[in-house]
Symmetry: C2
């Protein structure tokens, strides 16, 4: 086989081919909710459960995006939009690679979630509203951000001085008494 004749056309390996060796369908589980609502914890627990089923997963969250790909972005409105755009684009590439991608970002605006959903495709997009009451999130305050916002040291804190637009029709509504098991079932049925 010559690799030098660029006019020689071979069928490329497709998303379906990549999904087949993984025994799954690529998709995005888009977690949205307030800071401290438990998105990262849910993402990790969900990944553990899916991994037990030999599902091929990956988590995209602030930790691995803000320190790398998106380290050039700040927290102003434009940069927040660009942050989510890149998350959606990377998630889309990973889904094309056949992975089940779990994203864990506040993503407070309907417009940005709709942008992600449109890019990724409705059939591949499972929006999970991690609906933990603000009082609980603020009591947890894992990064001390609520305290800062209440003291006026932090602008654009979702839930305090920036709105969180509640998802109208999420594929899964994760309440404080919801179980990871139920969410896992939804995903496995979808795959």
């Amino acid at each position: 086989m010559s690799t030098n004749n660029i006019y020689f056309h071979e069928t490329n390996i497709s998303r379906t081919d990549r999904e087949l060796i993984k025994g799954q369908k690529g998709m995005i589980i888009w977690l949205t909710g307030l800071s401290g609502s438990g998105k990262s914890t849910l993402a990790n627990n969900l990944e553990k459960e899916l991994h037990k089923l030999k599902k091929h997963t990956y988590i995209l969250d602030g930790d691995n995006l803000r320190l790398g790909l998106n380290k050039d972005l700040g927290f102003g409105n434009d940069d927040r939009v660009e942050n989510i755009r890149r998350v959606a684009e990377v998630a889309n590439l990973m889904m094309d690679a056949g992975l089940i991608v779990i994203t864990a970002f506040i993503s407070p605006f309907r417009a940005e979630r709709l942008m992600a959903r449109t890019l990724i495709g409705n059939n591949n997009f499972i929006e999970v509203f991690v609906d933990t009451p603000l009082e609980i999130c603020e009591w947890r305050d894992p990064k001390g951000l609520y305290k800062k916002a209440r003291n006026g040291e932090l602008l654009n804190m979702t839930g305090i001085n920036s709105p969180y637009e509640i998802p109208e029709k999420p594929e899964f509504h994760f309440l404080p008494n919801s179980s990871v098991e139920d969410l896992k079932k939804l995903i496995v049925n979808h795959a």
Copy 2:
């Protein structure tokens, strides 16, 4: 299992865990060479061979990056550097997901390839110099870019009016008479 107590710490699924269910080691195969050198063809043929071995791969190239994640970038120097930075960051995330990632970008500058290598880690980075002579690339001219550059209609065309800095110590030197099979062996031994 409660997912609501964010203080409850569980071991997360690691890169090694993800690699284990795929039966491989994540890595980056970084193809570099002139426009028309055959990078995309080589990437596709290599992916086909690796797929036959049930390896989990993904190709990053201009087609899936410039139309999506990097669609905000032009072709000036700053934007070309940012283009490659994002490619390296996304490749790094995919490697962390356990995939063998094949990148196909001209990446003409040593500094940018070193940036990618440093980010990704020397042990995970297989630089492949797709060394097709300029005369052959220009004769192929698959996108008509050389002709435009010769006519003065295109600036920054690598090999014509912008330099290509030859890799000094690539892990694999792919010449017109090289075989995909040999490159595949290197990768399989590395995995």
